[in-house]
Symmetry: C3
Subunit: 467 residues, 3 copies
């Protein structure tokens, strides 16, 4: 990473004695290569290595964490060129101005933090969007983006990313991954991640068509063809370097039902005949079956639970998914996951990483589960919780019950490529601050804290994600 | 406000460097006029401007946050003259003594904080109730209360309250508000707030009678008369300066049902024939309809959700409502509010302020909702959460997701008139402390923090509550 | 207690000014005798006073909070001699080595904290398990354990434990308690605690047999004999010094049903005919009846709610209960306890202590309940929450609503006898830190904080548990 020279005190504790310890611990982590075992960077962008278009498209239009806060302030998504294929120079400049006027809305937010760090540490800017004269900043950023050292692969190198996992559809041919793996100039290992949600929820739009195409990839049909298709796709992902399979679900409920029952549900699902209760049972069953597949092929199973997708239908209808109105709901793990854990919780080599946006589950459920089951790892604070105060709460809520070694290690989970170093740096700083406090409170010796600091951003994610 | 000279370090961070920043930020806020857009002060008290009776009645008997803690210590509510019309001097003195003996019970509590600040900063006392000799303190306070500068309007002026909203019944004639508005000596704008709960819940005691009287105010009868009566009353409140309508509900569930269905439910409700499920549906529908009315007349909609009222029936039967056993329950917003937000979430000018006493919803639901919907504002930490540590948790739980500008601004929500400046001062101090930490952690520049500090207690509540 | 000379700054705040206050407050508490009104120490161990066997059995094998973290790291419970009657010297040494290799897993955890304090403060070791050369440490600890001053009664004296409550089966003859009470050399008052769970849940294994034996202790049979048996056993416990009855339940739901209905449920339960809904109703009723019995015989009622026991059946089948997979679930109190509190919430002398492992209930439900009902006390942070950061969150979540005097006082809840002083010392330090912060923030005067500091570990537990 390349941020060490900047703002050494950022996010570190204000008490001078504790800060000194934190700085020492941070220095041990600051230059470790980035391991990014879960995220949403477009592999095609890396494969083609085209220059980024303009600052407004790159940093605003295409980042729905940014556009959602503009929308909340009354900005129409259409005026941000969302859903628009082409964007003119004047539109881009207009979006940039509109954003700069509202820079104060981002103060204290995670997005504001990433943007500021991106501008200061990646672009080297001293002026920020709130400092007035948006046009000059737009021009400076545009010029910077036209340079070769700001193209995707150059940044991949500069960010010192050792491993970067993308998130991919089971039927994706993975051509970009093949091209990157074949290119000797790309030192980063770019791994696909198997993400089958759209094939597991029979109530999702387009499920039937997707399943049709999935079954067509194998010899059998019906429910067995469906399972074979999933297995075959997973096999193909593993061959291309995948180490994990990811599941985004509203509820973590799992169920073991007998194969003939499952086959009957599948057949009726294909005819659109499932009740909502049956659809839920089918989803619960497929989460269970996916765990079984992981015990067979070794893919780490990651579950991102508790998100109500596309809350505002008019926005979804006009602009499609990922527009900032996926919203967290109260989540449970202990009871819903019991069928899965009864069967696979102690299975050799099975890894189950649990992510939540309901913080209450950290101390109540995730740390206790991970403190017993060798398969369970506590997912790093994710999404809305991927921010300094939230990260501090995460450590305080989990370490006392499960220690440091039952966590997944940090994931950036982002499609905002330029923010990746800032995100990992934030995690290292908040970890340094937390460890320094434990040292200051005589709960850890400094040598223990030093080992943990490095392990948190090296050994721990490597083990949890089988990198 | 008038508290700046007292205890400048109160509630500010102990680290010297951070404290200096906090003090600087606090100074910017300390003298701003008070905006109180939601509370429960009796407008009649201001209109008549009679002197307060005695310290025990004013500070103890009539504050159920104080009496509940005495009750929890085994003091019978009857011995506090609760429910009693007249209170003798000796009774008042006896209540005061009983309270002073138990002053330690209030240590660390919000009520203890307001009481101490009221005694020190409003009355100028140096002795506190726990310092022994309750009679001398009682006499000193009694004497102070008899002076003209301690009468309600003098305090209104001294507290520098620019706007004070009361909470009023839809059939209230608003005479006190008219008198205050007509009096050129009253510089405070005293606004009524439309609070129709007792007209919306068909299972509430007296609902039928109230609805009868409401319908009698308009030409039509039946369900349409009911809606017209509500609309007409809202119109009257708007004319008298109201800017918001307030809803206190156990659950935030909303529903859109067709008018004929609603009318049928209404007719059966009037006959007492609704099942509990139908009553819930009717309440959910009326919350939805109330949002629609807000889109028509512009009243800000505030929802205080998640409170189980009158938990202990024997106490309710003996002493009536508001006796300290209204208790919070687990609350949800994302799914229950969806029908309302689907329809009105992006409606022009619609403001929906969501208050909770279930802290888990701050990071999980309220900040994400307010970070997308332009109508949704995160209610300030309310009621049990209106206290220094809770306020700090509120900022840490919401700002990273939604920033500072999606909050409602502080509300004091109190009927304890003398505590109003202490409450706003507390909010300013905790905000100064939070902002100073962000500056110290290099997450905000000082200039940014300065702007936010002022906006939090000026522009932000003005906008959210349309003051 | 004997830990004052060690590590005076441990767990205290890092800010120098606040630390000085915290140190002063801690000094007032440090030498108070230990009151342990709820725990799981084996009274037979104290009665026989046999030396402890070896360090691995004592500190690892028999502490399932330790073994669960080893299990989570992939260590088979069988390799820890769990469920094994005899353990050879070489097995003990092997377990010790395996544990020392994994000492880093315990960094930051509650168990790691107790172990370190036990080794440093009770055994006087300077080397820790992570410092290499496990055999030398094993030998040193083994030698220490063979000395007379490390036998149970010597430690009871050295730890300065004034009261120690155990947890006992209603049919336990309480011989060990009788022997200890009769021995003039035992200065500690060792009190039994009535723990009837296995007699109240008709779905529990062995319920029918236990009830059979219980009913056989009295003259009547059927449901009345069952109630009489419980009452008679409680009477016997009271006679032996018990002051509390403890209930461990998944849900805190209570119900009042009429006696004939209860008798009918009981009769059908004895025949194994209850549906799961009826079994839940019976449990809810028996919690209600147990409260009634407390109003009769004065036993403090403690409820430990919200735990899903024995989550992983294969582990339960192989190794029995208490193996580290009892897991917390989301818990509610306000609505479930209402029937009980309607009836007994203000009953003279009734004490109800509510423990939770769902932290969300502290500010939302427990503090508000205890802030009104004189019977309700907020249980100290329990089990997974009995650790420094969790204890700090507990105070911050409850004091602002309910003050300091509505808590139960600290309980150690442990069967790890040697960790008892470290646990009480931790609670005193975290309380000192919290109080010092309130002083530093000018929310408490130092004299107030001094009184509270002592009361928290003396008057408050004595009152709540009727010691």
């Amino acid at each position: 990473m390349t941020l060490t020279s900047v703002s050494t005190g950022r996010l570190l504790p204000s008490d001078p004695a504790t800060r000194r310890v934190a700085e020492e611990l941070y220095r041990l982590m600051a230059d470790l290569p980035i391991l990014s075992p879960h995220g949403h960077v477009d592999p095609g962008m890396l494969a083609t290595d085209r220059p980024f278009r303009d600052p407004a498209t790159l940093l605003i239009r295409d980042d729905h964490y940014v556009t959602r806060l503009l929308h909340a302030d009354g900005v129409d998504l259409a005026s941000l060129a969302i859903g628009q294929e082409e964007i003119s120079d004047s539109e881009a400049r207009e979006i940039w101005r509109l954003f700069c006027e509202r820079w104060h809305l981002f103060a204290g937010t995670a997005s504001g933090y990433w943007l500021r760090s991106t501008l200061e540490d990646v672009f080297g800017m001293e002026r920020l969007p709130g400092d007035g004269d948006p046009d000059t900043l737009f021009d400076a950023l545009s010029e910077a983006l036209s340079a070769d050292d700001m193209r995707p692969r150059a940044l991949l190198e500069r960010f010192d990313i050792e491993v970067l996992a993308t998130t991919d559809d089971p039927l994706d041919p993975l051509h970009a991954h093949q091209a990157l793996a074949a290119d000797p100039d790309v030192r980063t290992v770019v791994r696909p991640t198997f993400r089958p949600d759209a094939y597991l929820d029979p109530t999702g739009a387009g499920w039937n068509d997707r399943v049709e195409r999935l079954v067509a990839t194998v010899d059998r049909d019906g429910y067995q063809g469906y399972l074979d298709g999933l297995r075959e796709s997973r096999r193909r992902f593993v061959a291309q370097g995948a180490t994990s399979a990811d599941f985004g679900v509203l509820s973590a409920v799992t169920a073991e039902i007998d194969p003939s029952h499952a086959a009957a549900l599948f057949d009726r699902a294909r005819k659109g005949e499932l009740s909502s209760g049956e659809a839920e049972l089918f989803r619960a069953h497929m989460l269970f079956e996916s765990a079984r597949m992981s015990t067979e092929d070794g893919l780490v199973m990651t579950i991102h639970a508790g998100v109500f997708r596309n809350h505002h239908s008019p926005t979804f209808d006009a602009f499609g998914p990922d527009r900032g109105h996926d919203l967290p709901v109260a989540t449970r793990f202990v009871e819903p996951l019991r069928p899965l854990l009864q069967r696979f919780g102690t299975a050799e080599g099975f890894h189950l990483v649990l992510f939540t946006v309901d913080e209450t589950t950290f101390s109540r459920e995730l740390a206790p589960l991970a403190g017993f089951y060798p398969s369970v790892f506590i997912g790093a604070p994710w999404w809305f919780l991927d921010a300094p105060d939230s990260a501090a709460r995460f450590r305080a809520a989990t370490v006392e019950t499960a220690g440091f070694y039952r966590g997944s290690g940090f994931i950036d989970d982002t499609r905002a490529f330029l923010s990746i170093p800032a995100r990992h740096d934030m995690a290292r700083r908040t970890d340094a601050a937390y460890l320094a406090r434990l040292v200051s409170e005589q709960r850890l010796r400094i040598a223990e804290a030093e080992r943990i600091a490095v392990d948190l951003h090296d050994a721990i994610p490597r083990r949890a994600f089988k990198l």
